[in-house]
Symmetry: C2
Subunit: 121 residues, 2 copies
């Protein structure tokens, strides 16, 4: 498939249901029915959302037997993020935050190295 446009990716991300689905798929691959379970909308609606996510390249779907498995595909997400990082100021802000984190991590390192060694998961 041609790599999806930023238009498509951002549009896909703009819906809370779809973002929630992506979060769920972080944990594990899921069947369509299982994806739909926590939501209050019809299976057909979920099926549409999954199509949107697939067209955006954010997930892939593979049919095994009568079950269609959905899998997270983080590449598209990375494309979107790269676009964001093309913003100078934003990058600056980001790096500032980094520095702040860094400084704090370094200072407190003398005291409690283990607790401050990295970002929380």
């Amino acid at each position: 498939m041609a790599t999806p446009s930023l238009d498509t990716i951002f549009a896909a991300l703009s819906d809370p249901t779809r973002r929630a689905i992506l979060q769920m798929l972080l944990e594990d691959d899921m069947a369509v029915t299982d994806v739909a379970e926590p939501f209050d909308i019809s299976l057909a609606a979920i099926s549409k959302h999954l199509t949107v996510l697939t067209l955006a390249g954010l997930i892939s779907q593979e049919k095994r037997g009568r079950v269609k498995w959905c899998k997270l595909e983080p590449d598209a997400l990375r494309d979107a993020s790269i676009w964001m990082q093309s913003f100078g100021q934003f990058e600056a802000v980001n790096l500032e935050a980094f520095e702040a984190y860094l400084e704090q991590a370094l200072t407190s390192q003398g005291k409690r190295p283990d607790e401050t060694a990295g970002p929380k998961e």
Copy 2:
């Protein structure tokens, strides 16, 4: 204003005209008419796009005299990026860049980084 939702931010980013406007505002603050100049659509349409960007918190607008100046506001963008970073694989990629920056920033700053202090997981 209440901090705009991810819905609003991503929806704002999903339009190519609006992303182009953001790119332009990276260079400098601009008046509405000047923002509109390179585009092939009506001024009213641009005005609407600017409203969308403002509601998303991606830009701010300040009126001085009869000119309304548009200014990039990268905070909302950062929110969106933070959401993205909650995605495991993607985070890994990003943290690599973090580490690289960190190392370079510290060395050029004259600080003494302890090489083991970087975020790593």
